[in-house]
Symmetry: C2
Subunit: 233 residues, 2 copies
């Protein structure tokens, strides 16, 4: 007799699931991050996470107070990937750049995660440790407290904003979109936009790395100049 492949009866499926799979916060955060890596932030929903964990969305709320807290945790988890050297105040400028590059590197590794870093009060342990490192470096270098205090916060803001913009540009990096935008700008009315149109393709030169390096160059040179001014009565 031919063996017949019957669907398993529903009453039998239950026995496989008697043991509840235990959730914990770290697991939720890791799954959330994986979803962001694959689908971007807009692909992340509580249901999506629950689906991956084979549970229901309501179960997540036993471990996080809501989506906002979850995003805090995910961001902090990412910033924890930053690797920083021993602070060397004699080389503070190069080290501020290294700090910024590290911030960019870890965020870039996770799609559009940088979007979460914006407009958020820094409370995670890794986020704070990163700030601590920078503040320690700048104090060691003898920069005025006012400069140190501001730089700690504004540095993260500038890097996060840049990396977020970069992630948007990467998402729209197909040659068609790029050509369309460039075409649009280069064909603006020259009487209204003489400088944009005459600059032409120079507006679009340099890649993301170069632009980022320029930005942190400007930031660090500016810090140095303002700090020097602050120290000259």
């Amino acid at each position: 007799m031919t063996e017949v492949d019957l669907p398993e009866p529903p009453w039998r499926r239950r026995s496989k699931k008697t043991r509840r799979q235990v959730l914990d916060r770290d697991r939720i955060v890791e799954v959330a991050l994986r979803i962001i890596d694959e689908e971007g932030i807009d692909g992340l929903s509580m249901r999506r996470i629950a689906e991956e964990l084979d549970t229901g969305p309501a179960s997540l709320y036993a471990h996080v107070s809501g989506k906002e807290e979850l995003l805090d945790l995910v961001l902090d988890r990412v910033i924890g990937e930053i690797e920083l050297p021993e602070p060397d105040p004699a080389r503070w400028q190069e080290q501020v750049k290294a700090w910024a590059r590290e911030g960019r590197r870890v965020m870039k590794a996770h799609r559009d995660i940088a979007r979460i870093s914006l407009g958020r009060i820094p409370t995670g342990v890794n986020v704070l440790r990163s700030a601590e490192w920078l503040i320690g470096l700048l104090r060691g270098a003898g920069l005025p407290d006012r400069v140190v205090a501001y730089a700690g916060d504004l540095g993260a803001l500038v890097v996060g904003a840049y990396v977020f913009e970069e992630s948007v540009e990467e998402a729209n990096a197909d040659p068609e979109t790029y050509a369309m935008v460039a075409d649009y700008m280069l064909n603006l009315p020259p009487d209204l936009f003489p400088h944009i149109t005459s600059m032409g393709t120079a507006l679009f030169e340099g890649g993301a790395d170069e632009r980022f390096e320029f930005l942190i160059d400007v930031f660090v040179a500016g810090l140095a100049a303002v700090a020097a001014r602050d120290q000259t009565p």
Copy 2:
């Protein structure tokens, strides 16, 4: 006989509304902006706008392709409020700051509108005119094309990110939240966070204006330094 106030019969109400109120894009944008002013960006939905216009949300789609386009239009409408002087290349540094202050001023006047400015490809006429002004100024001042091209974009990014962060802080500006955050940071473990804890309240000094002025000071000084370097072979 006492006059009786009867509800108007339903068949009679229709006659008042035979004339359809005509929507147009500008009206939609203005209403959207007013809702943002009063309720913030999270208070803005297509239904909310339609409610204010006494129509249905589907009607909006005859005038805008979707919410994203609407937000583009709202932002451009806001940036149109910027007032800029005649460019004077001899004073380019002060004028870059004036440009940044104007950007901040108009965005600050509209709650958390700055959030929309982030991660957005600049295509609105006012956004482009603002960039055109800045680029024209910097070219007039003889800055290298590379510097000009980067500064146009990064300037807007820095200002937008700052103003957005500022709007978040203003939304959380009640003394209780502020005290809670300060308390949290000042009571971190000193062995892990020696610099943050020893800086103490210096971390929270200065208001938003001062921090913004610091940021644009750094940005402009940095631009000047990098530009000077670029011009020295």
